[in-house]
Symmetry: C2
Subunit: 370 residues, 2 copies
């Protein structure tokens, strides 16, 4: 196979489906397929478009329907998955159903450590606000202990750890709690605005040519003591709100983490439960850190291309722009739809950047208080 | 963009979804995305796996849900499709709902001839047997008159034309009827076993090194008189039953036909209603013929790779083979599942053959009686 494809990987992806655009499984499936993964896609909603449009039509998959589809796989011996990636589930019962699937796949793989790995994106909310029912939170708290890697954003990490992240030390404490209280081997907090936590951190990289905002991604693989092994990667924040980037991050992480584990100098790692590196491996040398570097590089490439395409499309459709200042509610809505559509992630014609990103971000060691 | 991608194409694909494997939209979406098309996927069923396994779980999308999802696209101005590809719909009402969507998109594009093209795969049955309800047949008969290209197999062509195909002349008559009675500009009959119709036709190509069976694909773009312009392409039949090949054919045809029309020496063709070439264009020079040549080449490559992978997988799982001779029903079933899984089309790691096939099949003129 081509050198740019990751090791053969069969993934069960459980997330939302939209007819138009790229979020949820519609994003994750193509991303993982482009990396060479065989993807089984179990869709938890069937919507016309993502909710950023503020209106959509469609249906949600019930917990029973989710379990039933999985039963269909079981009865046909179609459960030989290497990885499960679980994302948005539309109810607490659906989260429980997904949790039961993850645990069943773990049981099936119990005598072959490292042969099955569960990446869980605990989709609950963002920016201090839940966008799921309250009962989804305890449902996630019940299942994350079974996952090998979780990918909360800052808000979700707060909700799960019970620790409000207001500083670098509370951030470290939140990750420590996720490792210790829930026994989760790997954690990545996918978007932290360190500038808000620590103003001197706005532009720590001497190579960064501008004063633009940076987004920080913090990751950790647990030590045998339960303590975290923290790394951080800064990437320039792009001036656009995109939908589906969390799903792109998760899907790329599946492919790149498996690649990193298979390329790891410790050949035994892939046969180790949860792919946890031995304690002598430094944070920046962790497969999780190596994977995240590539993930962020690909995302940066694709999102830069998306901004270019968005700007072109907005210029080309300028005549259809809603008259936001002079018009009423209908004009505001029309303009919102035009801008939301223009900001859809441009994936199909940029898949080469998934396989071979052209930029380079480096993980750095992160000691609490640095 | 890369030279190997087709012109920018936005497709609305309406067909079935399976969690595991590649049939329906699960096949068509990846195929078209790999060719560079942006695909909106409206799924008409949500099944665990394809029906060739003889057991599956899941749900069907109702006609109302299909219409509702389309309404969601309309209200968000997400209907700027260049092509619609419609495949399996699970009921007569669902077929009607799909037909209404096709006609609505045609109305929206009415003042820009050639800007919207509808490829319709009238999925009803095969090998002399319907696998849909009887009322699906008249539903298709009502909507095919609106399509630009239909892709029936031999049985479906018989059902739609009312002509039983028992000879080369009845085959030509069936296509003539589809052109004239239903005003369908382009027709491809995707699998004809000419050897059964005409034994002397079993191996007409001097370059064919073996006596293996050939499959013949017959296509035609109508003349202004309503008469057909027939071409034929022979490909070696592969010794394996695959599911999803009809969907692969349809998806590749969408991409390749658009490419052929954009590359056509007659630059006005793309602005001509239904992309119908002028009468002086010979059958073998039709964009439809050029497209079908490439489609069949890609399919041959992917299916050859699938057979290789199947054989390897069957060898690797030989220990799990069901004891068909000595065992009971359970053993027969177990073996059927093992073989069906092994024959899943290997798409993800062979997408390069979609863009750049390595074999070459040529369309030949086909006069009735040849």
């Amino acid at each position: 196979m081509s050198a740019d494809l990751v090791p053969e990987t069969r993934v069960l992806a459980i997330a939302s489906h939209v007819v138009y655009g790229h979020v949820g499984n519609k994003m994750a499936t193509l991303v993982m397929q482009s990396m060479g993964c065989d993807v089984a896609a179990l869709n938890t909603v069937h919507f016309s478009n993502h909710t950023g449009y503020r209106q959509f039509k469609g249906t949600r998959t019930t917990a029973e329907e989710i379990s039933n589809l999985y039963e269909g796989l079981c009865q046909n011996n179609l459960t030989d998955f290497d990885v499960m990636l679980s994302g948005y589930a539309p109810s607490a019962a659906a989260v429980e159903a997904v949790g039961a699937i993850g645990q069943d796949l773990q049981r099936k793989a119990a005598d072959r450590p490292g042969s099955f790995f569960w990446v869980l994106d605990p989709v609950m909310g963002d920016q201090g606000r839940l966008y799921v029912n309250d009962d989804v939170v305890p449902a996630y708290k019940n299942i994350i202990q079974h996952a090998d890697l979780i990918l909360p954003n800052q808000f979700e990490a707060e909700v799960l750890s019970g620790i409000r992240i207001t500083s670098l030390s509370t951030l470290a404490a939140a990750i420590t709690t996720l490792h210790s209280k829930y026994s989760i081997p790997h954690v990545i907090i996918t978007s932290v605005q360190l500038s808000k936590l620590c103003p001197s951190e706005t532009n720590p990289s001497p190579s960064s040519p501008t004063t633009q905002n940076l987004l920080t991604v913090i990751g950790s693989t647990t030590l045998s003591t339960g303590e975290p092994r923290l790394f951080r990667i800064e990437v320039p924040a792009l001036d656009c709100f995109f939908s589906g980037t969390g799903d792109m991050f998760a899907a790329l992480t599946v492919a790149r983490l498996r690649e990193a584990v298979f390329n790891d100098p410790d050949a035994g790692l892939r046969d180790t439960k949860s792919w946890v590196s031995s304690d002598d491996v430094q944070a920046t040398e962790l497969p999780l850190a190596k994977a995240t570097e590539k993930v962020l590089a690909s995302m940066h490439n694709v999102l830069e291309k998306t901004i270019e395409a968005r700007d072109k499309q907005l210029a080309a459709t300028a005549a259809q722009a809603g008259d936001v200042a002079g018009g009423g509610e209908a004009e505001v809505k029309k303009e919102h739809l035009r801008r939301t559509k223009a900001a859809e992630v441009r994936l199909v014609r940029n898949v080469r950047f998934l396989r071979e990103p052209t930029v380079d971000f480096k993980a750095r060691e992160w000691e609490e208080g640095l």
